[in-house]
């Protein structure tokens, strides 16, 4: 596949070349509002249609294991304790004690102050951005509301990166976005990305949470997706999980379409993470189908697709046990974390 010379640009230059000038509110508005709109009815119909794919037998088995390997196992509560985080890590490493062949999840996702605990608990199983083991993702930038000064947000990020976080899940300033201050949103993402740099020069992976439930329209979701990618996000993520509605299939589809178009334009692969509200294997399989039929099944790897979820894992494990043993068990045959 051939790409335009944009592929050869450095990310910052690329964005400026596309926008046609500095990342000012006016330039960004002109660019983002020039993107074709979304017809909500048509988008939802397409998502529903993808949801009717019937994934059976060997395809289902593959899907179940793939889903487990794509999960960011998450605990984001005010009541989180080191004990709770250690328990989560144990579950991430051995999702199903009755079947050691069960794959591990992609990452555990915690608040910034729990990063050290998670890293310690993982020990040698800490992937640290590699392909073997489990990553640690930290939510940052005054998650979930993002209502703090930029200095505080950046300190939040640096703190987590220093503690060993491999991935940073930041939130955009939805207030600034809705007020049309696109330049501010852009600059913040650029600054956060810079704060993801470790002392050795390597970078923590940056996931940009759009909080689609607060953006309200698919057109806004699409514009915010472009904005986050232009500014250098490695992943675009739907939601914090603290606002309803969280991830939906149509929202995720619209984000995947942006990622697909960005790849066509630049040859760069951006990840997508639906988070919140995906609780069953059946739903998760619909997401796999949507990814595979929209951007291609190359995207079904932890580097390019994640599920932000907590209760999903147990439902997937129940399905997995059922496929292995031929009968359904029950909630007491999977562990609570």
């Amino acid at each position: 596949m051939t790409h335009t010379p944009l592929a050869t640009y450095q990310p910052e230059q690329r964005a400026l070349a596309l926008i046609g000038g500095e990342a000012t509110d006016a330039n960004l508005r002109r660019y983002l509002h020039g993107i074709p709109g979304i017809d909500a009815v048509g988008l939802e119909a397409r998502a529903a249609d993808l949801g009717t794919r019937s994934i059976k037998t060997s395809s289902k088995r593959w899907a179940i294991d793939t889903i487990i390997g794509l999960i960011d196992l998450t605990t984001l509560e005010g009541a989180d304790t080191p004990g709770k985080v250690r328990s989560l890590v144990a579950k991430a490493l051995v999702p199903d004690p009755s079947d050691p062949g069960t794959p591990r999840v992609a990452a555990v996702c915690v608040y910034g102050d729990m990063v050290g605990t998670a890293v310690n608990a993982l020990g040698s199983a800490h992937a640290a951005g590699g392909t073997e083991g489990v990553n640690v993702a930290a939510v940052a930038t005054a998650f979930p509301s993002g209502r703090a000064s930029l200095a505080i947000k950046l300190a939040d990020v640096r703190d987590s990166v220093a503690a060993g976080a491999d991935e940073i899940d930041m939130v955009i300033d939805r207030g600034a976005f809705l007020a049309g201050r696109f330049g501010q949103v852009y600059d913040e993402i650029v600054a956060v990305k810079d704060a993801c740099r470790r002392v050795d020069g390597s970078m923590a992976h940056l996931k940009v949470i759009l909080e689609t439930g607060e953006l309200n329209t698919y057109d806004n979701v699409r514009r915010a997706s472009w904005l986050a990618i232009l500014a250098g996000g490695d992943f675009i993520k739907t939601s914090t999980g603290k606002v309803a509605p969280a991830a939906t299939l149509p929202v995720t589809l619209s984000m995947l379409e942006v990622v697909r178009d960005w790849y066509r334009l630049t040859g760069v692969q951006i990840g997508v993470k639906p988070a919140g509200g995906i609780r069953t294997s059946k739903d998760a399989i619909k997401y796999l189908v949507t990814v595979a039929e929209t951007v291609g099944e190359d995207w079904l790897t932890p580097h390019l697709f994640r599920f932000g979820a907590s209760s999903l894992l147990n439902d997937v494990l129940l399905q997995r046990q059922k496929m292995t043993t031929g009968h359904y068990s029950g909630p007491d045959y999977v562990t609570i974390d």
Partner: protein, 520 residues
């Protein structure tokens, strides 16, 4: 493994209980036809499903006589609410047997199970529910107070949506108080005969609906029969023209729903991903065997390349194969004859200089198949831009301004459907106002609803099906009595009744029985 090679997910045929031979459904019972039976095959495998009877002239006579008798004796005397009860009952039975009907339709027609399951059969039920509600409200149908039914309706339907076309025809006819003789298409008679079983289950009075099978000559005999008051035909323009000719000069009322070459117009401000979905739905839905298909894509020149690239990419995800597999998007072409026509016109498109592109899907060994195909660089003078192909073949043309789009969209002998894609509401309304097409979709395509009238302009036919307008095809203004002088002959359709007068005495005894059933 490749995830996108989804494992087979075939719908079970276990709940089908098909017979090896099917007779004609006349006067409430199945009877053997007097013509030579023919086989109906599964177009995906070319295997025989069952043998179907052929109705000869005597069978057509019997069917029309049964319909006349039921009209005079029972159906025209029932109250609207009682007719409605039967229609509601039929609708519920269709829902109860939906899965079975979907599987049978897919077997016999070749269309994918996901379409019969999610579109055809639900719409069949919806059509009966909708017109059931109309049966006692005919005063509001738009033909004045106390409108009268027409009598016996002869209905001939096509093979592309067999059961759905049956519902579009039978539901309004019965709601309006007519009785019916229906002939399904030769290659797709099966579900009409299953529907006849549903009519028996519903205890519909004998003769109110008669279903006769056979080839084109059976249909011809039916529409030419002097005992019918109304002819309704859906199918090709050439056959429609022949019917119009044969009905001319008689007092039969006629409605025709014929071919089309629908323009799907994509403006540069369209919601592009949804437009691509709409293009796919417009031409690849039901293998393009859709009279209102969006078979001419008119795309604004400034976005042509982008749209075509997205379209090709999307088309590569279409799954062609076993129609009974729940993941199949493109099923089999209905017949060898239709496949030959699609091939002929496609080859012609290539010869005319258009650029042909097809998805690289694997074509099964047996059965009739045609890969989804688009032609770019098509000119308005090409045959593939003018003739109805009735297959999964899209002709792409460009335009520069809205005026050019409208002119090109209207530059066709047909006028059935059109689509407009734009984010600008005012443009959609302005363009729709100038398109000469019976159905215009905005930012969607191939959506059907019983409350929405459907029909064409010019060579696409006349009369409307669906909605309040669909009732007008089966009603006439009240027969007036009293102060205004009207020739006696118009009070009652004596001449039409005389055709069945000789059989009246024989059927008198059945009248009371049917009337009893109706009160259940």
């Amino acid at each position: 493994m490749k995830f996108l090679d989804y494992a087979p997910a075939p719908e079970s045929q276990a709940l089908l209980n098909l017979k090896s031979d099917y007779g004609l459904f006349i006067n409430g019972d199945f009877t053997a036809g007097r013509g030579t039976p023919f086989q109906t095959i599964n177009p995906a495998t070319e295997q025989q499903i069952a043998m179907i009877a052929t109705a000869n002239e005597a069978d057509v006579d019997a069917a029309v006589a049964a319909a006349r008798h039921a009209y005079d004796g029972v159906w025209s005397r029932l109250s609207g609410s009682d007719r409605g009860k039967y229609l509601f009952r039929i609708a519920r039975l269709v829902q109860e047997r939906a899965r079975e009907l979907a599987v049978a339709e897919t077997l016999d027609n070749g269309k994918p199970i996901k379409e019969t399951r999610d579109v055809d059969i639900p719409l069949v039920a919806a059509w009966f529910f909708y017109y059931a509600g109309w049966a006692d409200k005919l005063d509001h149908a738009g033909v004045g107070p106390n409108p009268a039914s027409l009598g016996v309706a002869a209905q001939v339907i096509p093979w592309n949506f067999p059961l759905m076309m049956l519902a579009w025809k039978i539901a309004p006819a019965l709601a309006a108080g007519n009785t019916v003789v229906l002939k399904p298409a030769e290659t797709t008679s099966l579900t009409a005969l299953l529907f006849a079983e549903i009519l028996q289950q519903a205890d519909l009075p004998a003769g109110v609906v008669n279903i006769i099978t056979g080839d084109g000559s059976t249909g011809q005999t039916l529409v030419n029969h002097p005992g019918v008051n109304k002819v309704a035909f859906t199918g090709s323009t050439s056959v429609g023209r022949a019917i119009a000719r044969s009905v001319a000069g008689t007092d039969k009322k006629l409605s025709l729903e014929l071919g089309g070459k629908g323009a799907n117009i994509v403006f540069d401000d369209a919601p592009i991903d949804q437009a691509v979905e709409g293009i796919v739905r417009g031409i690849f839905f039901n293998q393009g065997h859709v009279c209102c298909a969006g078979s001419r894509l008119l795309v604004q020149e400034s976005i042509h390349d982008d749209v075509i690239e997205r379209l090709k990419r999307r088309m590569q995800t279409l799954r062609l194969g076993d129609p009974l597999d729940k993941n199949t998007d493109i099923g089999a072409i209905n017949s060898a004859e239709q496949l030959a026509r699609i091939r002929e016109l496609s080859d012609l498109g290539q010869q005319e200089g258009a650029e042909r592109w097809s998805t690289d899907c694997v074509i099964p060994e047996n059965g009739f198949w045609f890969a989804p195909t688009i032609f770019t660089n098509v000119s308005t003078s090409h045959r593939i831009a003018r003739d109805e192909i009735f297959g999964p073949v899209l002709s792409v043309l460009t335009f520069r301004t809205p005026a050019e789009a409208i002119a090109k969209a209207n530059n066709t002998p047909y006028g059935l459907s059109a689509g407009i894609w734009s984010d600008k509401g005012s443009r959609i309304l302005a363009v729709a106002d100038k398109l000469r097409a019976g159905v215009i979709w905005a930012n969607t395509f191939n959506q059907f609803d019983p409350s929405s009238p459907f029909g064409g302009y010019k060579e696409s036919g006349y009369g409307r099906e669906g909605g309040r307008h669909g009732l007008a095809a089966y009603l006439k203004p009240a027969v007036r009595t009293g102060s205004r002088s009207i020739p006696a002959a118009e009070h009652a359709p004596v001449s039409k009744k005389s055709a069945s007068a000789s059989k009246k005495s024989a059927s008198a005894s059945k009248k009371s029985a049917s009337a009893e059933k109706a009160t259940k």
